[in-house]
């Protein structure tokens, strides 16, 4: 902590003689960039997995007037549920955001940033953490009902019929959870480094 105080008490923390490990002008920029790349990877993967969640299952149906059993095909796509559409939109937006802010983080590393950069990144991180958390909550709720059903409302589970579809949705919700956790970590990291600079 003494090196941090000494560094920030000097010209602007951009002193090259300071050790590379303690936070400089940006505060933990290496970890920042790594977390943002992880965020980009997880949201991109979640996006792809959710968009390709599609399965058609043939159900045998016996009608009394027909002698044989006919097959009815019931497709399942992610567009059937508004919660999954919201999850897809949130993943798209967070993916794009993580790309843009990874560039901002590169600016922090190279040291050519203004003090407002960290502040703006932190504000946006908090906002996107809220968005991603709500999308994960909704998607997770729908996925849970699809997995377990709900006997009280007589909603039967669909995951034993639609195996591949359920795996895709489950993976997408899990990746959304990873993205929310990474965003909260980023916000906490940046908030801590912003706080250290003010002391």
């Amino acid at each position: 902590m003494a090196t941090v105080d000494a560094t920030t008490a000097e010209s602007g923390g951009k002193d090259a003689a300071a050790a590379p490990a303690p936070p400089r002008a940006g505060g933990f920029p290496g970890a920042d960039l790594a977390l943002r790349l992880l965020l980009f990877a997880s949201t991109l993967a979640g996006l792809v997995v959710l968009a390709t969640a599609k399965q058609t299952v043939l159900f045998p149906v016996t009608l009394p007037q027909l002698p044989q059993v006919i097959f009815v095909s019931m497709p399942a796509k992610f567009k059937d549920s508004p919660a999954l559409i919201y999850l897809l939109v949130a993943l798209c937006v967070t993916c794009f955001y993580s790309l843009l802010t990874a560039l901002g983080s590169l600016k922090l590393i190279s040291g050519s940033s203004t003090p407002k950069t960290l502040f703006l990144l932190l504000l946006l991180d908090v906002f996107y953490a809220a968005v991603m958390a709500s999308a994960t909550g909704s998607g997770g709720g729908v996925a849970w009902i699809g997995l377990k059903g709900n006997s009280h409302t007589r909603w039967n589970k669909i995951c034993d019929s639609y195996g591949k579809f359920c795996r895709h949705i489950g993976a997408a919700v899990f990746l959304g959870l990873v993205a929310s956790i990474v965003l909260v970590l980023l916000a906490a990291l940046n908030a801590y480094s912003l706080y250290r600079r003010s002391r």
Partner: protein
């Protein structure tokens, strides 16, 4: 050394920020840091009032959802000769995992807000309270998302997977649940605004501003 970190023009005028509360907070922090006196910083009125609002909103939401139940008598006609049977059916909040998560998350954020209110005067508690606020934000928003989604499924059903809507039968139950979700959503937005105000406060007191 601490006093020189805050720009001289800042303590006098509010730099366009709202209210004397923030100026008082900044001046108080500068003075307390320079004087090295004690561990108590003056209270920031906006932050405290927002936190009290979040406490109240999450408490109300958890309680309203927690007492939500409805029993209705459905008439079933077995045969024309027999009188119709009255079957009581109940809807409770605990029948849905999403609502259970909603009540638990709101209760946790309520308890955390009370603890943060008790500890907000201490200067060493700024970082843990901020991290806790972040976690509370994520918890609240995800709980609102899950409960709102369950409510939408109850209102409209989902024809693709053959989930029938339930709110035509349990009207009052659905209305109370929706009210709880809306109150919690307002509390979540208040938490977001409070967190942004905290970040703004820290940024304004930073040495590079």
């Amino acid at each position: 050394m601490e006093a020189s970190r805050v720009k001289p023009g800042f303590n006098g005028v509010g730099v366009g920020l709202d209210g004397s509360s923030r100026r008082g907070y900044m001046g108080g922090v500068g003075a307390a840091a320079a004087g090295g006196s004690g561990r108590r910083s003056p209270v920031d009125a906006c932050g405290v009032s927002l936190r009290v609002f979040v406490l109240a909103a999450t408490l109300v939401a958890a309680v309203v959802m927690g007492v939500d139940r409805q029993t209705r008598n459905i008439e079933i006609t077995l045969a024309d000769t027999l009188p119709p049977l009255q079957v009581p059916v109940t809807a409770k909040w605990s029948y849905s995992s999403a609502f259970v998560y909603f009540v638990v998350a709101n209760a946790m954020v309520c308890v955390f807000s009370a603890a943060a209110l008790a500890a907000c005067r201490r200067r060493g508690a700024v970082v843990p309270v901020m991290v806790g606020d972040l976690l509370a934000l994520a918890l609240l928003f995800s709980a609102v998302g899950a409960a709102a989604e369950f409510g939408i499924l109850g209102e409209r059903g989902n024809s693709h997977v053959r989930w029938a809507k339930v709110c035509n039968v349990y009207g009052a139950f659905c209305e109370r649940a929706m009210a709880a979700v809306i109150v919690s959503l307002i509390g979540a937005f208040a938490n977001l605004v409070m967190l942004m105000l905290t970040i703004l406060t820290i940024h304004k007191s930073s040495s590079y501003y």
